[in-house]
């Protein structure tokens, strides 16, 4: 019972944070609120027994994402979001409400939260739980699936991260050096 209460409270906090992010226009505050949002979601993952996901979300989602966004803010020097002159929220609001109601309609058939007889729980998951120790000798099933059963998946993930790293370097890294070569004094605005 207590974990249901914690779960409900944390999810309510998440919803409040999301609304606050939409309403804010100061970009620094938005990024800080997003960091909070991410950390709250790590708390929700712990309540839902996904400790590995919670670790990763707290370290990568909260830490690295926030640092990247703050670095972008420092490079673009744009502190405030410009409020649209003619603010017409009706079209996006309608799109969002229609999509949201379609999704809620879809959840009505989903087995309730935590149901042990749900199809997701009875298909291949018990096999992994039973065979992890005899086949790989790893107690943490998440680790054994990630590194052993689905090792190629993780290799693909590394490829994606590598590609993204190269793309970021091509977009930002190379041009800096070229600028320095062309004008050794450097733009005073660029400091």
């Amino acid at each position: 019972m207590i974990d249901v209460i914690i779960n409900v409270t944390l999810l309510a906090f998440l919803a409040i944070t999301a609304v606050a992010i939409i309403r804010m226009s100061n970009l620094f505050a938005i990024i800080m609120l997003f960091s909070m949002f991410s950390f709250l979601s790590a708390g929700v993952f712990i309540v839902m027994d996904a400790i590995d996901v919670a670790f990763t979300e707290a370290a990568v989602g909260t830490g690295v994402s926030t640092v990247l966004m703050l670095a972008t803010l420092a490079l673009t020097k744009d502190q405030k979001e410009k409020q649209p002159v003619a603010h017409r929220p009706w079209l996006p609001l309608t799109v969002v409400i229609v999509t949201g109601s379609a999704l809620v309609y879809g959840t009505l058939d989903i087995p309730p939260f935590g149901d042990p007889d749900a199809p997701a729980q009875t298909h291949v998951a018990p096999e992994y739980l039973e065979r992890s120790i005899p086949e790989t000798g790893v107690q943490n099933v998440v680790t054994s699936v990630l590194a052993s059963y689905r090792g190629f998946d993780t290799l693909g993930e590394v490829t994606v991260v590598f590609t993204a790293g190269i793309a970021v370097m091509l977009l930002i890294g190379g041009r800096r050096r070229k600028e320095e070569l062309e004008q050794p004094q450097g733009d005073p605005d660029d400091a």
């Binding site: 929700v44 027994d49 609001l93 739980l129 930002i172």
Partner: protein, 118 residues
């Protein structure tokens, strides 16, 4: 009442998804759009983890005296998704920095004005 508690997680997750979606389509600031994209992403993670939870289940680390475990497969998928998500976020932010240098602004309508595209 049981139906509401059993589906509360899904509905909050959908609300968060739609909050992120709304931020993406209604705001012109590119950094805020990326924050909206991240909110959407995190809510998808929560949808998967919600499906993996079993009542009375422990975290999927095999130990003696524990019979019930949560489903480890969604955890693995989401671990991968979190890392890939950060990679795409960093790529998006790099594009924002590049756009700022080329156009001098990160507001979408000003970029369109400079491009005469709208």
């Amino acid at each position: 009442m049981d139906f509401i508690i059993g589906h509360y997680n899904y509905w909050v997750v959908i609300f968060l998804m739609m909050a992120g979606f709304y931020t993406i389509i209604s705001r012109g600031n590119l950094v805020k759009k990326i924050v909206g994209l991240n909110i959407f992403q995190v809510s998808v993670f929560m949808l998967y983890i919600t499906m993996s939870t079993v009542h009375g289940g422990a975290a999927p680390i095999i130990s003696e005296g524990v019979e019930n475990y949560s489903n480890p497969l969604p955890h693995v998928l989401i671990l991968t998704a979190i890392v890939v998500g950060v990679a795409t976020t960093s790529l998006g932010l790099a594009l924002v920095v590049r756009i700022k240098e080329a156009y001098g602004t990160i507001e979408e309508d000003e970029i369109h004005e400079l491009d005469h595209s709208l």
